[in-house]
Amino acid sequence: MSAAPDSDYREALTVLQRRLDDHFLRLKRERAEAAPGTPVFALEHGLTDAELALVRSTVLTAVKRGDLPRDRGLPFVVYAAEVGYEYSGDEYWQTFADRTPGWWLLGDPARQYMRNQYRRFRDNYSGATPVGPWAKKFSIICWPITHAVLPTDLQRHLARLLYDFSRLLTAGLLSDPEALGQRLAAQAWQSSARLQAFAQNTNLLGQVATALLAGEDEDESPLLLPSTLTRIVDDLSKESETRRWLLDAKYRASKVRTHGLQRASFSRPELTRRAADRPVATNPTLSVREDSDGWSLFLELPDLVSLAGRLPEVGDEMAQLRPNVQGVQRRFGSGQLLYPGQQVRVQQWPAVDRPLIQLERGSELANRMLADHCVLSPGPSWLFRLRDKNAGVEVRGKIVRPGHRYLLVLPSPFADVPTWMTQAWMATNGVSGYLLAVPEELDDSTLSIIRQFGIAAVMDVELRPVGVVAAAWDGEGAAEWLEGEEALVAIRTSRAVSTCLLGLDDQPSVIKWPTDSNELLLRLNDMAPGRHGLSVSLMTEEGTPVAAGTLEFAIRPPQLSPTTGTPRQGLLLLPSPASPTLDEVWDGRAAVQILGPPGGKARLAVTLADRRGRALTQPRQITVALPIDAAEWLHTFATQFRGQSEIHKAYEQAETCVISASAPELGTLTLRCDRAFVPLRWAFRRDKDGPVLSLVDNTDGVQAALAAYDFARPCEAKNVDLPPGEQLRWPDGGLVVATAGSMRAASVMPPFVRHLDDLKAAEPQLPQLTKVSADVLHVVQFANLWGSAALPDDPIGAIRRNEVLQTFARALTWVLAGQRWVRAEEAYVGRENGSLRSLRDAIGVEIAYQQQLASALADAAPVLMQCDVSARVTAFANELAAHARPLGVDGVDRPYAEFLLRLISEPGTLADWPRESLEALIRRAFDAPLLVRAARFVVVTTLAAQDTGSAFAGWIWE
């Protein structure tokens, strides 16, 4: 075939349509036979280079002529998939239009045409259907991108994911693409934003991954057309590092496949399934330690990645929201539930009738799943084996052995303490502790006391891992091994035994005890992932049972180490949220804690790169003292990186930011943050004529409605007319908002500063507010619109936006705290005739409790100045609990304290709080203006000395 002249394009379309129809019908039949249920992709067109060139020229001609024939859509489907294969980032239509002159002129009907053709492809050829939240957001471009199978910009990320994941491969996963896709998706949360979106289609991910992992010497994969698979592998292998990752993953898969087949012949499927039905527990590990305050409970955050994999929507919440652990004072950062292994001290023993771990403002589903999957072992007693003087781990099976030491924790004191029990001083509140030195000989009265606590005594038999250290072992009766490892167990007894009656997952077997040993060694073969139980009963020659014991164990997949490290390492990056975007890091909405040995030093580097991965800046490096908490991070990033001109200039072109922390002794860790992957966004640049905004619109073609707001009139919308593909210039600047269906994109437009006069700005004016909830909510919504808008890197734009945000907070202060307070605050801020004392008195001095609250807050101000926002909320809640009872504050009400502080510092951050509870909280604020004044006092007296990028310096809310 040769290139189509203009006049012949319709004939060429007909020929190509027929050629592709034959091909895809054949492929549909073959696939249904070889891999039922596996879809066909448009990229599997099987065309030669010459044929593909003809498709391109024919489609270009048709588009130029505005001819999109309904009955000859296959060349268009293939063409769009080819564009999808090569594009990167989020500008699909931009790329498409650049390569297809005349496309913009066809407008929205052309996009609809493309979607309809893909739907026909799905119906006629069992074509793939885009799925996942991403596909809902990008409802048209999801089709060509899905049909591109694995776009080139994802190949490197998928190769890395396969390499990292290859350790977790099993024969079962390799023969079940759907399950493999789900498991890979669960691990993709730390990968690039684009790969995360791709991974939402777990079937496609599994299909592609299985095909890529097929062995060299195996038959062709039935999951993808061989020529398409070869093309992807060739492209993926262009870079040596990516090629190596794929080769290693394939090598591991090949080994697993061979080994897995051998094992399969010995397995008993019904038992394998039964064990797998019982997923590995995700309960936190408990331990106790003694220090000068007494014994404290410690809790280790469990690995919840498997839960996130099974329920992606729950995983999204875990990545974004802040976890609360019952009884723990420490405030976690948002998303930190996805970083397992962190050990936290528990101040108040958790109540068993309340969920142990919950997400702040999490959905009912997410919190119910957490309540079900992360539970404290049932009370009313808890037992810890003390193998060290000052430390122990929980014995979940609640068994004791003669001669061993334990810490027993009870909900209330025990009256008749025997001599082998002594009271232990508990630093964790709400329980009583007792040290048990279990006697070597257990008489009936001792056994009776032990049983009172719901504890059993095990004598004369011991079951334990042998050979290699198990992945977990509590020292008494609970163990874990990794998938693919042999579970080796020793059974030891001091009694004369003839027979051992075994029950492995309730399957009995009888084993003769070795005559020359007090130990019997077992290998547990081919245990399926999940929970298992091994029970042992030892019998004498006469058949008398003399000892019995159990081993509860789990076979679990290994945890993958993220590039940000694990708590087992000396250095650890802890981002909040779990996988922040470049925008969040830049705007200070994300923080990165760097944990390491106190006093140690690390090199912190930030590099910005474009969408092809090319560095836009030399890595900027500074030395930091460890550890770095969230507040220090925000300050360090703002001053040492964001404020640096080279980084600052490159920001608008950057698609990725790589943050790395390294120390020769501690290693190197990295965090990659991509631009948010959204269907509607503003792109900013600047030229000689000033700032320019252009709208990147990948929504389903509905024309976006535009509105603009002046800095001086931040609540008054003006209409904007911006034809598709045109750029927006606005010398005065303000806020521009694009809305398409449920999507919204807002950006601050910095003013164009040519002369000093351009720096002058009118003070923002708001409509008159009245004391009604609706007005407050109105301000909250507008503050959210301004506060969450993208902020191009421009200092004047930032200053103007902050003035607007401060105006919102001041307006609420005026309406909620009263004029007298506003005057006192103005005097204090201006230092004309105001002082801290007069501001303190303006809180309220009429009644004793008012004075006490005001004095306490004034005393705390210097300390609060050094704290992060979370600690200030806690301190404020404590002061309210101590002094504001007459105003209806009953105990430590942290959410109320947080509400007040947010309301008068950055009200926009309340916009996503549930409306009903927000209205109730606003009514409470109207009823207690003194508390609003108190909150405002805390804000204005603890402003950070240096700008941290927030409306009120140092008050950055997550």
Binding site: Y251, D291, V466, G467, R523, G667
Partner: protein, 361 residues
């Protein structure tokens, strides 16, 4: 799924294979297997006190061929070697700077002039340090893992997430000084701190004891004791702290914990060098011995006392750890052309002298 009865020898062979070693070449209580077992235990247990890691391994080896009650001290020595080389790090605990715990050392490698790469570090949760095809080429000797280099090895290791450490950075050692000068530094530091309250559980190194039997040098303070001692004291859930103490009539009057300040290095590095200075000034310097090796062009260097990580790393780079000689704490096979330089280094930095009397141990 099924249960199979196995013999202790079969368990040992399975365990060696699970540790990634050749069951035909090494047994489960060999130094190589002990080091691998400790690395595996650390990958699941860190951050943890050394005793927790050692106990976990000891418990799983009980009853297997080669197990004796002395194995615990072998495990202690092996763990010290892993700390020295950087496979595990002894650092202040995150939630309490007074406690010191073991953390996993970062995956890294050091290139040697000979073309070999030393592999360092441990990955969490039992993950192998390198991919399977590289793992098959790793040569384990005592606590060391080495890989013969080729043109692309360094690139491969970096692709697999290992960081290359420059040899001079990894081998960085403190400045050379006289033993008296070194001791005086600690005397001054000790004089500058106030008297501490009573310290429970202190064990100290008896300077009058034979420096060639390290394990036997530890004891509790006695009434007759006076002066400056290297000591250890228990500390909550963490590792026993290394310290320097001033003792008067058997009572500990004051002390400083090691490492001084917030250094990342292990406390033992400071303690062992200080003890070497004390022994040297007491006229009973710590010893080394050199003897002929069965390997042509090499000699055996025996050491009878522990040495700091910066001294051990030098030997790890130029020499080969070998089965220890009778009475020695550890032994290295050193190429003859490197021997003089290494011996000179030990003499200058640790004030060691060569053992001349066969009857000394």
């Amino acid at each position: 799924m099924g249960v199979e009865v196995v013999t202790p020898a079969e368990v040992a062979a399975s365990a060696v294979a699970m540790l990634g070693l050749d069951a035909e070449a090494v047994d489960i209580t060999s130094p190589e297997a002990l080091a691998a077992s400790l690395r595996r235990a650390a990958s699941f247990l860190c951050p943890a006190a050394p005793r927790v890691v050692i106990r976990a391994v000891n418990d799983t080896l009980r009853g297997l061929p080669g197990y004796t009650d002395d194995l615990r001290s072998d495990l202690e020595s092996a763990l010290d070697a892993l700390v020295a080389v950087g496979d595990v790090l002894e650092l202040a605990a995150r939630d309490d700077v007074r406690q010191r715990q073991l953390f996993l050392g970062p995956p890294a490698f050091v290139r040697r002039d000979s073309g070999m790469c030393l592999l360092l570090g441990i990955r969490a949760d039992g993950a192998p340090l390198v991919s399977d095809d590289l793992a098959m080429r790793v040569d384990c000797e005592e606590h060391l893992r080495r890989l013969r280099s080729d043109d692309s090895l360094a690139e491969r290791l970096v692709q697999e997430g290992l960081v290359e450490l420059k040899a001079d950075q990894w081998l960085k050692s403190p400045r050379s000084e006289e033993a008296s000068e070194h001791l005086a530094t600690y005397q001054e530091r000790l004089a500058a701190v106030g008297e501490s309250g009573p310290l429970d559980g202190v064990r100290l190194i008896d300077p009058a004891s034979r420096p060639t039997y390290y394990t036997g040098r530890w004891r509790e303070p006695k009434r007759a004791d006076g002066g400056l001692f290297v000591a250890r004291r228990p500390q909550g859930y963490g590792a026993e702290l290394w310290c320097v103490v001033e003792v008067v009539a058997g009572d500990v009057r004051r002390g400083i914990d090691l490492p001084p300040g917030f250094e990342i290095a292990a406390g033992a590095d400071y303690a062992w060098r200080l003890q070497a200075a004390i022994d040297s000034l007491n006229g009973t310097p710590q010893r080394f011995a050199v003897r002929a090796s069965s390997r042509p062009g090499a000699s055996v260097l025996d050491l009878f006392s522990p040495i700091p990580s910066w001294a051990q790393r030098r030997l790890d780079v130029v020499a080969t750890p070998i089965v220890r000689s009778r009475g020695a704490l550890f032994s290295y096979g050193v190429p003859n052309d490197e021997l003089e330089e290494e011996v000179t280094f030990l003499k200058e930095m640790m004030w060691l002298t060569e053992r001349s009397d066969e009857g000394e141990f």
